[in-house]
Amino acid sequence: MKMEMTGAEMVLEALKDQGVEHLFGYPGGAVLPIYDEIFKQKQIKHILVRHEQGAVHAAEGYSRSTGKVGCVLVTSGPGATNAVTGLADALMDSIPIVCITGQVPTHLIGNDAFQECDTVGITRPATKHNYLVKNVDDLPRVLHEAFYVAANGRPGPVVVDIPKDVQFAKGMYERPKNAEHKTYRPRLKGDPDKIRAAVELIAKAKRPVFYTGGGIINAGASELLREFVRLTGYPITSTLMGLGSYPASDRQWLGMLGMHGTYEANWAMHDCDVMICLGARFDDRITGRVDAFSPGSKKIHVDIDASSINKNVHVDIGIVGDCANVITDMLAVWRQMNAQPDKAALAGWWKQIETWRARKSLSYRKSDDIIKPQYAIQRLYELTRDKDVYITTEVGQHQMWAAQFFKFEDPRRWMTSGGLGTMGYGLPAAVGVQMAHPGSLVIDIAGEASVQMTMQEMSTAAQYHLPIKIFILNNQYMGMVRQWQELLHGGRYSESYSESLPDFVKLAEAYRGVGIRCEKPADLDAAILEMINVDKPVIFDCMVDQNENCYPMIPSGRPHNEMILGDSGENIEDAISEEGKMLV
């Protein structure tokens, strides 16, 4: 059934038909007709952010914690350009977002009109796809298509740019019909022959390792993965993005791998004979030096995005497909073959892994005088582990410590900016998560530098009574920058000191929240419990050791088996070659 309505009405109608309940946005001249429609209805709740970047990060947090498409509405020009960082972040981390942007009226496009920018041009490389809708009759189809493209295949952000005259124009609205796109048909089922070959290889492995990533979470394949991993008895590690897809308390779990991954995870990757990569993409933070990456292994790679396969690392079996489908098929083949892992080989492999594990690569020197950042995360984890908790992070040392010391048992509990590494992600993401899960405990593990990039969203949290907890590991440095300057630039801490920090307790109070400061390890537990029990936004200023570095670490230009441990005593500056210093 078709209904006549204005473009602005169509936007609200389409959002409702797509099941949208929350919309993060900021009004402006070119989206006023849409805001007028928002005013006239109650079904969709609009959350007014304080900066458009915050709107996209909030929608990302909302999406990652629920599995739904996150929705954003911003105005033309600066509204759109401010959203770009969030869009690029969502693209790198495969988060489904639909971002509607206002545009100047069609007859003014290209005239350098007030608040005009080439939104589709600017966002083209920062989105999975984008549209400029010049005719109101195209609007319903484009809006429905935008949701389909954002959510299907490898998820990602989609921008729909709507000129103001199109928002006023009348046309015929149509409800979404078939859930298909005329050209975009992502491949979901893996090639059966390759799946069989992969399972045969997996069954014969003597030193196997599962290497999993965010694709498991996007595919909703966490349960299937657990079944497969337990069936085989093989060790498993995961990327930053994949944390929570396998329970961290399980014996087969090796911890995170990569630049700041555990000793056992990285050594297992280096020495394995069969690598089973599911929904991860061989990112440079994972592989370390590519020409020395896991030199003796056969590699299986399952990814929904064909362009991820053989991009960084050549693999022996590349399977294009959705992880849930492929693992289901793998399980079927495994059972049908009545495959039996090589018990003797596996026992030897586990024995080797246990010796690496015994190295206790995450250990750090405890202190009674000063709060060690690792200790702070550990206590935060232990005091919240029986709660319904969601963690977001900013980017830097605190993010890596959170990944190392906070143990996740379930998917969609961990929201972090992995690919783009966006400082300022965590606070607005927490706003989005809390919006989706009003009764849950939502904590942004932050650094004092990152959090200032989007601090204004405290005001959003206050407005909507979102009791998010911002747990700042305050070392008065851009810690990761400082660490790299120590390692690579002779300890010349150029511009990495957090000068003139605000009083975070007063800042929290200024935003009508609660501020808590903690400076001594002995006070930490009580302070954390106080934080948990406050039903308001909290800024927790945790003063930590300024000089602590994040270990283990694979230095730039080194392979997995040459990682540096916190207590190794190796002179780190000597550990990085001149060429290594060139790398990021």
Binding site: V120, G121, R124, P125, K128, H129, L132, V149, R154, H181, K182, T183, Y184, W267, H270, D271, D284, G288, R289, V290, D291, A292, P295, G296, D305, A306, S307, I309, N310, K311, N312, V313, H314, Q352, S556, G557, P559, N561, S577, E579, G580, L583, V584
Partner: protein
């Protein structure tokens, strides 16, 4: 556990394996003819650091609004595979065919060549054009415009031959390609 000795390079990022050679490939890309589709394709090449040796585009199926983009690029087999996969990821793209891999595809281009001259030089230019099956499409007392089509190599030879006899300007279409035989792409 054994570890393999590590070669001298310290690159953190993947480098093309030395055994793989860079080679030219011609890709036929079928796309929806909608605004911005060419910008997507070109943006992908520049953004990811791929080369474009030549590029042509035109609508080929009007009712379906389907265009065909023919791109000549170069890279190692791994990079070419990557380019193909990256192109196929773009939403308005129907299909990408590596016509170089299909073998024996026809890859032709068209050139318009302006030659200035009088007297003997003019007659000489006309003879050369005849030798290359080039057609005269414009003719004044002191100039010709020749139209020539065919393989790139033939056009290169024709241009080289005309250079000493007054060639002043060349405009070339870039390569368009189609497979031989009855099979569609």
């Amino acid at each position: 556990m054994s570890t393999t000795p590590i070669p001298a390079s310290t690159s953190h990022y993947p480098a093309a394996p030395a055994s793989q050679k860079s080679e030219p490939h011609t890709l036929s890309v079928l796309v929806d003819n909608e605004p911005g589709v060419l910008a997507r394709v070109i943006g992908l090449f520049s953004g990811r650091g791929y080369n474009i040796d030549s590029l042509t585009v035109s609508e080929t199926e009007h009712e379906k609004h389907v265009s065909r983009i023919t791109i000549v690029t170069r890279g190692t087999p791994m990079v070419i595979e990557q380019i193909k996969n990256q192109l196929e990821r773009l939403i308005p793209i129907h299909r990408v065919i590596d016509v170089t891999l299909t073998g024996q595809a026809i890859e032709h281009e068209l050139a318009l060549i302006k030659v200035q001259g009088t007297g003997d030089q003019r007659a000489h230019a006309l003879r050369i054009a005849n030798d290359f099956d080039a057609r005269v499409v414009d003719d004044t007392t002191e100039s010709f415009v020749f139209e020539i089509s065919g393989a790139t190599e033939k056009i290169e030879r024709c241009v080289a031959a005309l250079l000493p006899v007054g060639l002043i300007e060349v405009s070339r279409s870039g390569i368009v390609a189609i497979t031989r035989g009855v099979a569609e792409m």
